[in-house]
Amino acid sequence: AQSVTQPDIHITVSEGASLELRCNYSYGATPYLFWYVQSPGQGLQLLLKYFSGDTLVQGIKGFEAEFKRSQSSFNLRKPSVHWSDAAEYFCAVAAYSGGGADGLTFGKGTHLIIQP
């Protein structure tokens, strides 16, 4: 079965500084990978996704992520964070079992704190 590891439970970054959130996955075939963000009291919003092709994918709000098959990683980056980026970030992988769309397997999340 697939799994996702987000090794950092909390990360604190100063406003304007760069950000990298780590994500490692375990899946036998080519994965479908996602990053979601959850602001306080809100549902999940998709930041970006990777299915195939270019390993550097661009998302909304200035985020990007790089798929590295050799490291089984899909790290999320942003060059300069804003106070509004404070939220919970989830990495997820989707698998296909043949019966149709499967659900996502999520990491446990990384809580991002922005210091002024």
Partner: protein
């Protein structure tokens, strides 16, 4: 815009009650999902459905059942609520197959079982 709505934002129920959580999507999506979210555990898949009247168990189906009588509506049922089912429940929907399509999430229902 895709809209996924959940019947309640907050719900308080007593142990042993039968609880229904309703989810409706307005984008004619084939697939619908129920997750629960707990601090430190992330989101875990309870059940999903890829067609009307079809259902598949997710990772943690014990104590839950689901119903999908219409394409736009997916219900999660707690047959006899227990305190360990106190959690945030999130519904999602997506189109297409092979897991490659974005899932759209509702705002969640925070259920407290006392």
């Amino acid at each position: 815009d895709v809209k996924v709505t959940q019947s309640s934002r907050y719900l308080v129920k007593r142990t042993g009650e039968k609880v229904f959580l309703e989810c409706v999507q307005d984008m004619d999506h084939e697939n619908m999902f129920w997750y629960r979210q707990d601090p430190g555990l992330g989101l875990r898949l309870i059940y999903f459905s890829y067609d009307v009247k079809m259902k598949e168990k997710g990772d943690i189906p014990e104590g839950y059942s689901v119903s999908r009588e219409k394409k736009e509506r997916f219900s999660l049922i707690l047959e006899s609520a227990s305190t360990n089912q106190t959690s945030m429940y999130l519904c999602a929907s997506s189109s297409g197959s092979r897991g490659r399509y974005e899932q759209y999430f509702g705002p969640g229902t925070r259920l407290t079982v006392t």
